[in-house]
Symmetry: C2
Subunit: 223 residues, 2 copies
């Protein structure tokens, strides 16, 4: 099970394929045709993960593993640590039409309350699979992209961008050497400042820029 | 004055135009030719803003206000609240060659320890000015861009992108109506998912994508 807080997110999960287990609310009248448990503000303060609890808190069932859609671009995440980062990444992935995220098994849990909070409902519409990322990359015949400091510019690249796996590494260390050898195309977001710093971009910012550029390219090819 | 922690950031500030006031270190030998105060780990724990203090902590002087370079793209920030966000934004701005950030006077202080920490040295190389953003936009004859949900696609846009002011609004509310009327060109990062959600992208992710696209365009024009 996992917890969702906030009216908007709770509604988005109720309207998804996720199965509601229990719903607690200060204003039960806001949820018609659903069995809601009336709770007080002080009760919400006790069960909420938030410093300032919202009026609504729901418990949903963690779904069974679904199959991965390999006809669309897949995002691969290696050893992501920060729950806020993962939440933002899930939201940005949905914006750019990603259906599947695959995470190395040591990545932060996507049902962690901070991830749920910062993903803002997008978690209800994206399929996230935890697996042995190395084996997955090895066994998949898809194009594998990764972001590195010295790859080819993502802007100059003329490769097919609507299919394949784009891998992003851990916040501090990037993609590990054991995965690097499995990457077909090493990409870089060029620095446009003629300097050698900053050393790197923030992980979720890099992901946003790469996905935006992939979307732009594959959209231009369609038109 | 303000505090910088961590060897790498301290070095970057020492090598910048910032004036060092005091330096405290567990390993004074790492700083040659600088007057360093030897401190113990427990002393560092007392003066550090971090839960796990680094071995080096420096105090620098807040510099005098410098003039704004109007021949380059300027980033404008309205009512930014989150110090981690501002730090990431400063780093991403440096990546894309931004020299000047102008912040509305109610934005979070760029010398806040959390901003310094997440900006990772980039703060030492970017000029940040706090001002009345409305008056600044009113008085500047430059092109003013802003990001909105229903603007023109930043990808289709054929406007000049190497000069002007790109404005980003508060994390929760976006650009206020009082500033919106001063914006010449309303831009949007298109959703590539054929849906009407997520409602928005994270602020620093949007900024990264917009600056990356401006850089790509102005670079293509040059070549």
């Amino acid at each position: 099970m996992f917890v969702v807080e906030g009216k908007k997110s709770v509604f988005e999960f109720i309207n998804s394929k996720f199965v509601l287990h229990k719903l607690f609310s200060k204003n039960t009248s806001e949820f018609k045709m659903i069995n809601v448990n009336q709770v007080s503000h002080s009760e919400l303060e006790k069960i909420s993960y938030l410093t300032n609890p919202d009026d609504h808190l729901a418990i949903f069932k963690i779904p069974n593993i679904k199959s991965i859609n390999k006809n669309k671009l897949i995002v691969g995440l290696e050893s992501i640590n920060d729950p806020g980062n993962l939440g933002t990444i899930i939201r940005t992935c949905e914006w750019f039409g990603i259906k599947d995220i695959v995470c190395s098994s040591d990545s932060v849990d996507c049902y962690n309350p901070k991830v749920v909070q910062s993903a803002m409902g997008s978690l209800s519409r994206i399929n996230i699979t935890y697996l042995d990322l190395k084996n997955f990359l090895k066994s998949e015949p898809l194009n594998k992209f990764g972001t590195f400091i010295n790859g080819q510019s993502v802007f100059e690249n003329k490769i097919r961008t609507d299919k394949g796996i784009v891998v992003f590494g851990n916040e501090a260390n990037g993609i590990s050497n054991k995965l690097r050898s499995l990457i077909d195309i090493e990409l870089t977001i060029p620095r446009f400042n003629n300097k050698s710093y900053p050393e790197s971009l923030n992980l979720s910012n890099s992901l946003g820029i790469i996905l935006s550029e992939f979307s732009r390219k594959s959209n231009e090819k369609k038109n």
